[in-house]
Amino acid sequence: MYAFGQILKTEAKLYLRDRSTLVLTVALPTLILVVLGSIPALREPSPDFGGRSFVAYFTPSLLVVTLAMIGVNALPTVLATYRERGILRRLATTPASPLALLVAQLVLALAGILASAVLLAVVARVAFGVPLPQHPLGFGAALLLGTVALLAVGLLVAAVAPTAKAAQSLAIPVFMVVMFFGGAYLPRFLLPDFLATVGGYTPPGVQALLDAWTGTAPQPLHLGIMAVVAVTAGAGAAKLFRWE
């Protein structure tokens, strides 16, 4: 346990030292929000968005940016790098377990996502009057399940990619699918109904996040799918993961 604490502490230091990744993963959605929010028209309430502004409508999709960046991009890259450079192997020769390093990375990814979500919600509220998530319990559940589902997908990528380069090239299509269906590239009202519906079921489940943010309880099916993705991808990762 002491060793795990030390690993977590060290990995946290390394995470904070990597400024560019930190900005890209934690601060990027808030930066995009600030850019969009500075355009007056996007702050006007509109019937297109159920009487809300575009900014308020788009904020949950910005959360998808963080989830995709950390879960599908940063996490598998770090883990594949650690394996490629023999860091996991060296750890395997000591009394500490490489599993401790993996768990520490998951804890940090979760912390990064939470920090990013809090930053986004607070800036959206304070700067642009976007109400905080109206269904806190549902939002917490949707965010947690969506995060776990994406981290599991990220672990699966890390499990099958032999090198950091391979992890990145595997992660890119997954990342683009997550971003596209999450409405981060094109706002979801521009997507055909069919695609927007599909987006409710692809991790991290943007529809559940949007529902909970605007005050409706997320649909159990949306949440259930995330749980299934998390368990399936997680089990696959556990089976396929190699320390070297």
């Binding site: 002491y2 060793a3 030390q6 690993i7 060290t10 230091k13 390394l14 030292r17 990597d18 650690y82 450079r85 023999g86 860091i87 192997r89 060296r90 395997a92 020769t93 000591t94 009394p95 500490a96």
Partner: protein, 302 residues
């Protein structure tokens, strides 16, 4: 009392035989070398000893324990320096050692180890800003930070410049003086000759010879050749009658004596008794390189 016993070790990867049949014992406190060309099965052998791989056949015992079954206990007392094992770029020297020290029940003092390994001025330097030699020293420090009884060092000096290589050798000798048994994998003759008390020469997955470096040379190329210019006329028979001498010849003003065993001592004694000074005295011996070629039929590719 051997601390490592390897008996008839066998390991395949698919249809490729990495280790065919390897046996050796390592005694407490010695520096034992595993020498052989690339792909001979050296690394696989020590990885099995370190408990990182499971053998397909044979027995391995380390400190009386089974490297697989008693892995948790052995990791406390066996330090391993792996080939091409790096650290995160932004991890600093002192942080790395303190982190690894936290894994062990009875670790060495990281600060002291940093000083001993000459990394005192680099304690706050991130890993990616270290030179090759400094990275290697840090890697050795990580293998030692748990106060191990056995250190396994794989291709310690590959990629280092000659000066860094010599410094690292000095370091390994100091580690042994602390009572640590060292299992050293190398494909450098000079390194094996300088450091190892005993050597297993491995070729194509088999041990082809096992002896001290001098013993290997003597067994394979026993002849020594002594050359000198005598300060006064010398009767060849004086030397030719010595039991250790196998031949005496002349090359210009030089006398060339060939022989075995302590031939040098025998020749210099005779010269001293006859008040002859041997000028430009040279002793030529077979080298480990010669021995290796003789044993395996090919040269160690460097």
């Amino acid at each position: 009392m051997p601390v490592i016993e390897v008996t008839n070790l066998h390991k395949r990867y698919g249809r490729t035989v990495a280790v065919d049949d390897v046996s050796f014992d390592v005694a407490a406190g010695e520096i034992f070398g595993v020498l052989g060309p690339n792909g001979a099965g050296k690394t696989t052998t020590v990885e099995i000893v370190a408990g990182l791989r499971v053998p397909d056949g044979g027995e391995v015992s380390v400190l009386g324990l089974d490297p697989r079954r008693d892995a948790a206990r052995l990791r406390q007392s066996v330090g391993v320096q792996l080939q091409e094992s790096q650290l995160p770029d932004r991890l600093r020297v002192a942080e790395a050692l303190e982190l690894y020290a936290s894994f062990y029940r009875d670790p060495a003092d990281p600060a002291q180890l940093i000083e001993e390994l000459g990394l005192g001025e680099k304690r706050k330097t991130p890993y990616d800003k270290l030179s090759g030699g400094q990275k290697q020293r840090l890697s050795i420090a990580l293998a030692l930070v748990g106060n191990p009884r056995i250190a396994i060092l794989d291709e310690l000096t590959t990629g280092l410049d000659p000066q860094a290589r010599r410094d690292t050798w000095g370091l390994v000798e100091r580690v042994r003086e602390r009572g640590v048994t060292i299992l050293l994998v190398t494909h450098f003759m000079e390194e094996a000759e300088r450091l190892c008390d005993r050597l297993a020469v491995i070729d194509r997955g088999r041990v082809v010879a096992l002896d001290s470096p001098a013993g290997l040379v003597a067994a394979v190329a026993p002849e020594q050749r002594i050359r000198f210019r005598p300060s006064a006329p010398l009767d060849d028979r004086l030397l030719g009658d010595l039991p250790q001498v196998t031949g005496v010849s002349r090359s210009g003003t030089q006398v060339v004596v060939t022989g075995t065993g302590d031939v040098l001592h025998a020749v210099t004694s005779v010269l001293a008794r006859n008040q002859i000074i041997a000028a430009d005295l040279r002793l030529e011996q077979g080298t480990l390189d010669d021995a290796f070629v003789e044993l395996t039929g090919h040269r160690l590719a460097d």
